[in-house]
């Protein structure tokens, strides 16, 4: 029987009541007394010298309170980058400045130039149109390879080139890898593009700055996945506000997919302006603005080579990737194509030698940073595509080729610096073949054929590193932050609990699943637990939600804090029953003296803690509140196998996803329904990337797919019903819950399955010249490929 509460139960998401009935409180729902409105003047060109900004006319327009330009931000720091990557030769990456408002040059369409604050948004917008910007257009830098050519125009004049870094990993293996390729029995090579994606959170970004001159306190309300990180970065590096005078509130947040991790110029600008004007200043991003200002994802151009021996064993992998950074370094941008990508290049396979080369390049485009999966989808895609191609070249079944190379013994240290703690890749693959009904494929193929359609089956595996991350490790790798998590558990006198967590929830259902964990540990109903997050004023320092880390890291902190609570409560219970704490058992919300029928209820103990009349005051303090920080000692490694079946219309090239199956090993599961939902959403995003989404700049650096008229998001009719399974469970060995994280798997595992399936369909139809098509596999691209 499935459980009906606690760990393992599909408890309904309590937050959905407010989300689905319009009772959520998003940043844009907040309106402060005396609030003014902001509109940004943005660059309309991709690259230009900013010769002057004339605000005279705008300043005199109705309702205008003030027009800020870069000159007003003198003394304000630039937006910091949170990760320093060291290049192949031991030199630090080139790190350009990132002013809050453009100075000297504009570097992408959407780059903010001035900030107009007015009584209403429309007045601010009218005045923004009246700001006269004198820009001398410069040739834009768009193509990454051209950007690195001699004599290419430079995005940042003060850097030596457009190369941010040339990273080699593991550099010491470079020669050995090259040698392995020289002597390999077979080498499969694949050139591919992992295209740029626009994150498209349902809720656009919003920032409201507020300043109380009487107390000198600043508050920023913002759409963030990690309010504490914003407080640290903006306070310490940009505005010079100490953390005790700066509060950052991220209330309900309508999705982020990574794009709301980063500290953005608008947040600093409104906080700064609020202090100058002594009025709250609110900015709400339009959808059009989102397209040219939210940090985007992926954008890798890659060559991958796989060396195999005569039996099909992987001998070596060598990759060369050009990774687009865009015009500036967004908060965590440098880490994505390096440490979140290179370290996953072993995949689920025993490959003794791996060398990953990444050249990060500045271009006159929107900055690129983490987007659901962040580096790991890029690694998985190239690896799983090249394996499929290799299987075809050597005439081996792609499933067999994978099995042959699976890692089967754990812990396993990869040649790319990580150690997988547990896993069972054969188990998830077996489960996948079952739930995908691979045995029935031939019959479905025949049926498609009868209708004049091509059909293909794509299967792949994936592994990712989640639960980011051990601070000591990421520190060595260049992170300028720690990556622990925290929780404060406050038990009230009448027994209810408030858990204040540093993890932020922007759609993941933490308020439900976190409560399940604590309820299970104490044996009380879930509704006795409230989860509080998102406000630096009432939660302990947390690093936020990304990298599928909330349950693995934040949940572990919560378990630690709850264990402290239980330990103390046990002492109180022992005192109340005149027994020794070691003899006290906690079960179903009651403390019992082992082997007796003496017991006290949870509520008796919590009441005693706050009404300490009969209480061991000389041994323990009154009250019941504990805080814990948790810093993991390894990443977690969710892994699994995905299968996609597509039909291709041979006349039009249109691909439809007919079936999709996912068998994931996420370790222990707290709420199976929420996990299903996370996988469903991830797969939809992956199908979106594989078939629909394209971020195209024209030769002038204008975004052609800058609205939903041209940027195709996956819709319900673009995806099939999914078969998902997470019954294969190898619990994580190093966190107390044994959980691995499930937020990104769907987006990581699904794109190669779709592309493998399409290539399979075309190959089966005799189009053996088609070994790869770059995403998105739109009808026109597939049709063009079919034309040969």
């Amino acid at each position: 029987m499935p459980k009906d509460h606690g760990i393992g139960a599909s408890s309904k998401r309590r937050e959905d009541v407010r989300f689905l009935t319009g009772r959520g409180r998003y940043t844009d729902d907040i309106n402060l007394q005396g609030q003014a409105h902001a509109c940004f003047v943005r660059s309309q060109v991709a690259h230009g010298r900013l010769n002057g900004v004339n605000t005279d006319a705008a300043a005199g327009m109705p309702g205008v309170i003030r027009v800020f330009t870069a000159a007003d931000f003198e003394g304000v720091g630039g937006l910091p980058c949170g990760w320093q990557v060291t290049d192949r030769h031991g030199a630090p990456m080139q790190e350009p400045g990132h002013p809050v408002l453009a100075t000297g040059k504009v570097r992408h369409v959407g780059d903010p130039i001035a900030l107009v604050v007015a009584e209403t948004y429309d007045q601010a917008r009218d005045a923004a149109e009246a700001v006269v910007v004198d820009i001398e257009e410069l040739e834009p830098v768009l193509d990454m390879k051209a950007a690195l050519a001699d004599g290419a125009p430079k995005v940042h004049d003060d850097l030596t080139s457009n190369l941010c870094y040339d990273w080699g990993f593991v550099e010491e293996n470079r020669e050995a890898v090259n040698k392995a390729f020289e002597t390999a029995h077979h080498v499969t090579t694949l050139d591919l593009v992992n295209q740029r994606l626009v994150p498209n959170a349902m809720e656009p970004r919003v920032a409201i700055g507020d300043y109380n001159f009487a107390t000198d306190d600043s508050t920023l309300y913002t759409t963030s996945q990690n309010p504490h990180v914003i407080r640290l970065l903006m306070g310490a590096f940009v505005l010079g506000i100490p953390e005790h005078k700066l509060r950052v509130v991220a209330p309900d947040v309508g999705g982020g997919f990574g794009s709301k991790i980063f500290h953005y110029a608008e947040e600093a600008a409104v906080t700064f302006a609020a202090k100058q004007l002594r009025r709250p200043v609110k900015w709400t991003c339009t959808r059009s603005e989102s397209f040219v200002t939210d940090a985007q994802g992926r954008d890798h151009v890659t060559k991958i080579e796989l060396a195999l021996d005569a039996e099909g064993h992987f001998q070596a992998i060598r990759t060369e990737t050009y990774a687009n950074m865009g015009a500036y370094l967004s908060t965590f941008a440098p880490s994505i194509p390096t440490w979140l990508h290179g370290t996953l290049m072993a995949g689920n396979y025993k490959t003794p030698l791996i060398y990953v080369n990444v050249k990060a390049v500045f271009t006159n485009t929107v900055p690129v940073d983490a987007y659901r999966g962040a580096g790991r989808p890029e690694a998985t895609f190239q690896l799983e595509r090249v394996i499929d191609k290799a299987a075809r070249e050597i005439g081996m079944d792609p499933v067999e080729l994978r099995r042959k190379n699976f890692i089967t013994e754990f812990p396993y240290a990869t040649p790319v610096a990580v150690e997988y703690d547990t896993g069972d890749y054969n188990a998830t693959l077996d489960k996948l073949l079952e739930i995908a009904d691979v045995a029935g494929f031939e019959a479905r193929l025949a049926e498609s054929k009868a209708r004049g359609k091509l059909r293909g089956l794509g299967i792949n595996c994936y592994i990712e590193a989640c639960g980011i991350a051990p601070s000591h490790l990421v520190g060595q790798l260049g992170a300028r932050a720690g990556l622990y998590e925290s929780a404060t558990v406050r038990v009230n006198a009448t027994g209810g609990l408030v858990v204040m967590t540093g993890s932020h929830s922007h759609g993941q259902g933490h308020e439900t699943s976190f409560a399940q964990v604590v309820a299970d540990m104490i044996g009380i109903p879930e509704n006795m637990i409230e989860i509080v997050h998102g406000d630096t004023a009432n939660t302990p320092m947390g690093m936020g939600t990304y990298g599928s880390r909330s349950l693995a890291v934040g949940g572990s902190a919560m378990v630690k804090a709850t264990n402290k609570i239980i330990a103390k409560a046990r002492k109180i219970a022992a005192h109340l029953m005149e027994a020794s704490p070691e003899d006290i058992e906690l079960k179903d919300g009651r403390f019992t003296v082992a082997g007796t029928d003496k017991s006290v209820a949870w509520g008796d103990v919590t009441l005693a803690a706050y009404v300490p009349h009969n209480y061991p005051l000389d041994e323990i303090e009154p009250g019941l509140e504990e805080t814990a920080f948790y810093d993991p000692n390894n990443f977690t490694y969710p892994a699994g196998a995905y299968a996609c079946e597509v039909e291709v219309d041979p006349e039009t090239g249109k691909v439809t996803v007919e079936r999709f199956a996912a068998a994931d090993d996420f370790g222990n599961i707290v709420n199976p329904m929420i996990v299903d939902g996370q996988v469903h959403g991830g797969i939809a995003q992956g199908i979106g990337q594989a078939l629909l989404e394209t971020t195209t700049y024209d030769e002038y650096g204008q975004l052609l797919s800058g609205s939903y008229m041209d940027y195709a998001m996956p819709r319900a009719s673009d995806v099939p019903f999914y078969a998902v399974d997470h019954s294969c469970q190898t619990p994580c060995t190093h966190n107390p819950l044994g959980v691995k994280g499930c937020g990104e798997a769907g987006a990581i595992g699904s794109p190669p399955a779709v592309v493998n399936a399409v290539v399979d369909a075309l190959q089966r139809a005799g189009m053996t010249h088609i070994t790869h098509i770059d995403m998105p596999l739109t009808p026109s691209r597939v049709w063009a490929a079919m034309q040969g």
């Binding site: 249109k654 078939l691 394209t694 797919s705 041209d710 739109t778 009808p779 026109s780 063009a784």
Partner: protein, 263 residues
Amino acid sequence: MYAFELVRPATLDEAVTALGTEEAQALGGGQTLIPTLKQRLAAPAKLVCLGGLAELKGVCIDDDGAVCVGGATPHAVVAAEAAAHYPALAALAGNIGDPAVRNRGTIGGSLANNDPSACYPAAALGSGATIRTVNRDIAADDFFQGMFTTALEDGEIITEVRFPVPERAAYQKFEQPASRFALVGVFVAKYADGVRVAVTGASEGGVFRWAEAEAALSADFSAAAIAGLSLEADMMIGDLHGSPEYRAHLVKVLTGRAVTAAG
């Protein structure tokens, strides 16, 4: 949006008068115009709302059996009320945009706008429809004059569109994946005196008739009849959703499918 005056005329005459002033513009369902205003890409001083004019709404059958659609009739109404009389037209209307668009957007707005990817122009041209305005009747063959351009004068209101009902017809729409407008759409209609084939989405010149296909299908109304034909890619639209060659190819595929669907 910039500020504008909103006029809600009670009669067609009032609407015509209101539209006589400078910088006045008709507002149908607003499904094209309102987004344009929100983007500040247009700044009319006055919007004259046609939504309240009962005389411009609804579907009826005239004495010749033609289906007459009021100029301010929403797509959803056409989808429902024309279904029994002109199924291909109703099906086309019922597959425009989403329910919200179909409940607001109107045939007059669609034809007046003449978006090169819109569906209705294909139906009007493919049916040899007559576009009736406050002043005159305009044959569909004369109405569409290139992308976003029509024979309408400034302020001229489409009051009715009259569709002669063919023996058989079908519309095939290949959706652009993002907007779900027609990447290419082909309307094929077989009349006693010949076949009409109207193509939307494909050409730089907007909706057009494919004369070779019409001739071939008039002789033999079967998909096989156009097998030997092909279109030049020259004048076709090329964008991130499809090359001119791809569109030219789709026109032929969809024409064949429309013929088959027409039965």
